[in-house]
């Protein structure tokens, strides 16, 4: 297993460039949620040279569509969704200052290349651990696209949110490394 880090957002490039695939990170501070539809809108705004609903510099974007909150809770269950659907958009967001993404599942080469070039990290959170992860979210506020429902952009305040580095800035991939270690070939 890798090293353990406790980091607070926004992240700086010197912080992301020291992380390695397999490291465990407990994130605190503000992170933003976005799924497919919101990503498309954010990238369209960048292409049009318009202002985004939040500051991308050092930001972490969480791929999640939470369940509705129960009365009195800030958010419902909130585990990661499958990330490849955001592959088209992530390199643009990394190029414009975002320093990380949280999701689950494989990314394409363009995302891995963008992580290397712009100092971004792809973090994996445990899929299907929505109740556990939802409890690490202290506040949630819809800041853009409320009409998208679960897919709206939310500003989340998280406390020791547990993630693992899947893709680092050196081009390493925990999915490939982990599998190579345990695969039994005939």
């Amino acid at each position: 297993m890798g090293q353990t880090y406790y980091l607070t957002t926004p992240l700086k490039e010197e912080q992301t460039r020291q992380l390695k695939a397999g490291d465990i990170v407990y994130l605190s501070g503000v992170i933003y949620t976005a799924r497919d539809a919101a990503h498309k809108r954010l990238v369209d705004l960048i292409d049009a040279g318009e202002k985004l609903p939040f500051d991308l510099e050092g930001s972490i974007i969480y791929f999640v569509g939470p369940t509705p909150p129960k009365p009195g809770d800030p958010i419902g269950s909130a585990g990661p969704t499958t990330s490849y659907r955001m592959d088209t958009y992530s390199p643009t967001l990394l190029k414009h200052g975002s320093k990380g993404m949280i999701g689950k599942g494989k990314r394409n080469q363009a995302v891995l290349d963008a992580c290397k070039e712009y100092g971004g990290i792809y973090f994996g959170a445990t899929g299907g651990a929505g109740a556990l992860l939802g409890k690490r979210i202290k506040s949630a506020e819809v800041i853009a696209y409320p009409e998208l429902g679960p897919e709206a952009v939310r500003k989340l305040e998280v406390d020791n949110f547990p993630v693992t580095v899947i893709n680092d800035t050196f081009g390493s991939d925990l999915y490939k490394m982990g599998r190579a270690q345990y695969e039994i070939k005939d």
């Binding site: 939470p66 369940t67 419902g76 269950s77 969704t81 982990g178 599998r179 345990y182």
Partner: protein, 283 residues
Amino acid sequence: MREIAFDDIVKAVRDIIVHCGTDLPKDAYDALVTAMETEKSPVSKEVIRQILENADIAKDEKRPLCQDTGLAVFFVKLGDEVKVKGGLLKDAINKGTEQGYKDAYLRASTCEPFSRANLKDKIGYNLPAIIHFDIVAGDKIDIEYAAKGGGSENVSRATVLAPAAGKDGIVAFVKEVISNAGPNPCPPITVGVGIGGTFEKAAISSKHALFRTLGSVNEDPEMAELEERLMTEINKLGIGAMGMGGTKTALGVHIESNPCHIASLPVSVNVQCHSSRHTHITI
């Protein structure tokens, strides 16, 4: 004829949906405990520990196990001596589904295929449910239910092999599907394999196979042997929990086999994530 009230069916369906949203069934929980104990990778072991802790939190605090609370899938056997009083059985199941998803604060995940517009206002909250009906002898309604998430559905595949491909061909196809899926369907997974029938029969059989209790043995010894072979082959892939690398990629492989056309060998692989939310009631 035995009369069963529409509202009683609505309530029964509502109750199983609320229960399954937050309580991981015992077979799935036990299979994960065994996987954690036997997993050789410390990273995957830790992931399974988190999955079990999540299940405990969800149960104790009545929180949804996962934010993907699925589409509601039903296999219903209607006894031929049952008369549903006050409405249609299908409508009762849909109504119970909507109530359950709302009452338990589950997510409405049905949408139009191209505009992607959510259907919660147009058709109903997380409606329509996916319902497979069968008519059997008797005076009861038998309902099997599962909340089926999207991530594991996205990696599922069906094909029709040449008969000469045989068991080796089936093993190769299943391995290919699971290998390509890698971390995406949230392993450790359950693998439903539908064999034979026609193209759609194989697919429906692979879905129904996922409803079987984890840890149970196939009644057909030949299929039980094939399940064991597939389990070994899948775990050799090294994918591990959430794809982090490990020795436990599958919790179970369940086969349903059907007679088929002399020209064909249909096979379908339906994948279930580790949050195997399923149950069975008889009314």
